[in-house]
């Protein structure tokens, strides 16, 4: 039971990060490798507003999200917009470059010290499970927020446009869907989701400047296993991988022996390889065409 809770905590973080990626890949066909840095931007700005300036937490979170959205927007204009129509692989390189610039800026502004947005948590204990109030809030918030994104996707005209573009971008364009605005808003939305992930991390654990790339990798693992442009598949896989990671080292296998903790991430990558061998387009690609 505690393992499930642990998986929920880790999975919610991965889900926030990878959901935006899946939208961006679905709509733009672009791999964004600066995602982890967007997350850190959100986390660090929130930390700065909350701990250094002393603003209340909700205001700080809003500030962090806004700054991250602006940074994401700049990233789009500088490193994605001029390139992605020429070749979808160009942004792969340019976003890496942008991520390095952000890494350097974060290091410059916030130095090397690790930071925690909330240092003292309120632990709860019931039914044999330990969880803090903050974690419950984070998990609930993640689910609510992802549901809100789903509602936008399925019940608004913007969402219909996004889904239409994912299914067939040329056909969508010929029907008069303005791709320029759409692409910008989807990219920025992915940055906002990532920023929330970074804030999540800063509240639950702590922020260090070199977390950016590992976060990006984590998100891509879920994206690829879930079927690259499948929103729900990606989210399910984010939770699934987290659960698998926890079960792998948390349960005794083969007659009482535990898998050494160092193999935790190997188990997750092995899972992805098996998924791709069995279903090369991702775990959920067959269930539904795209989103």
């Amino acid at each position: 039971m505690q393992l499930l809770v642990n998986a929920l905590i880790a999975g919610s973080l991965a889900a926030l990060l990878s959901a935006g990626l899946s939208l961006v890949y679905g709509v733009l066909g672009v791999f964004n490798l600066a995602l982890g840095q967007f997350a850190l931007t959100g986390g660090y700005v929130t930390w700065w507003l909350h701990v250094s300036i002393g603003l209340p937490l909700p205001v700080s979170i809003l500030g962090g999200v806004i700054v991250a959205a602006i940074v994401t927007w700049i990233a789009f204009e500088v490193s994605v917009a001029p390139f992605y129509r020429r070749h979808v692989f160009l942004p792969l390189v340019t976003t890496i470059a942008f991520s390095m610039i952000l890494d350097a800026l974060i290091l410059l502004l916030f130095q090397e010290r690790p930071y925690s947005i909330i240092a003292v948590k309120h632990s709860l204990h019931f039914a044999g499970v330990y969880i803090s109030v903050e974690q419950i809030f984070l998990i609930a918030f993640t689910i609510v927020f992802l549901c809100a994104v789903a509602w936008v996707l399925h019940s608004t005209s913007l969402g219909r446009k996004i889904r239409a573009t994912v299914q067939h971008s040329d056909a969508a364009r010929s029907l008069g869907i303005s791709s320029a605005l759409l692409h910008r808003s989807v990219f920025i939305a992915s940055g906002i989701l990532a920023a929330l992930g970074g804030i999540y991390l800063g509240i639950d654990q702590n922020l260090t400047p070199q977390l950016g790339f590992p976060l990006t990798i984590k998100a891509y693992a879920a994206l690829i296993a879930g079927g690259k442009d499948n929103f729900w598949g990606t989210i399910v896989c984010a939770y699934l991988i987290a659960l698998l990671e926890q079960l792998a080292i948390g349960l005794p296998w083969w007659g009482g022996d535990y898998i050494a903790a160092g193999f935790q991430s190997v188990v997750a990558l092995l899972f992805i390889i098996v998924v791709l061998l069995l279903k090369p387009r991702g775990l959920f690609s067959g269930l539904r065409r795209a989103i």
Partner: protein, 374 residues
Amino acid sequence: MKRTLALGSLLALALTACQPSQEDPIKIGYLGPLTGDFASAGADTVNAAKMAVEEVNAAGGVNGRMVILIAEDARCTGSDAANAAQKLVTVDKVVGIIGGVCSSETLAAGAIADPAKVVEISPTSSSPEITAAGDFIFRNYPSDALKGIALGKFLQNAKFTKLAVISENTDFCQGIRSSVKDNLPEGTTVVFDEVVDAGTKDYRTLMTRLKNLDFDVFLANGQSDATVAEMAKQMRELGMTQQIVGTDTADSVTLLTLAPDAVEGLKPLSVPSLSEEGTGKQFADQFRAKHGEPQFGMFFAALSYDATKLLLETIGKVGTDGEKIRDALYAHEGYEGVAGKFSFDGNGDVEGIPFAMKEFKGGKLVQSELIPLE
């Protein structure tokens, strides 16, 4: 034609003017984690090394020659350290190297500095493997081989018998892990011994397993304060109340901002705090005035300052020849540094810097007892 000749002779004159190397600046290298997980320690040590160089230069240099410090980023990894050392040795042709900070750095850089006959003094590396890293490799930080003995003594005195350990997979943490296991007092057993990837921050599942075990003391053997904070926090979140001990990486006031509740009572086994009087205080005041509060710890800075000063002093005595510097370091009777009086044994390991057990008490990091080594 005349003009070219004139220019040529001028050039020749200028070249000969450069010739006497006695006037050239002396280059020494620094390598350490200027970025990456352990860059807080990198910042403190490089700032302290700079301070030492600036002071020597302000006092007229080494035998009238200015000193240049060339700092390279080794990111706490062996491969980056090897690249950095290669550059320092072959391109910059440094006389000596201060660093690395992480044991992985010192070992990898040592493999290049030693054959090139360039002295390397690490101010902070503690892996037992450095003892045998080479003739030119020194350190003024005690080896972890001794830390196992010190921790063993502590466990025995405090009557802890069931030890649980989580270690990061780095040279530093593995060195401590094996040293602790080799030096357990009689009757003490290791009941939990897991190794995680470097930089892991999610310990919840390991802690969930640990909760079902019978143990009385937990060793948070992490590579940085960021990971130690998560170990302590996630352990306390699961309701475990056992004593936590840490190593040098837990000897960081940053823990108080990351997890003030969880680290209360945590005991880091580390080198002593910098003396609050005499040269120690003088150094600390100057460091604060120049670089602000240390990001990792004042003692690390002091050791780096001492290592740099000692290297420059030795160069001043015997010149820039690597073998002569090496011999002079081995022969040194005892250097009066700001961190204490120390010398080197036949392996280049430090003698004279003891261990201390500290404790987070009431939101402060205090020194609770010195653990001298025989």
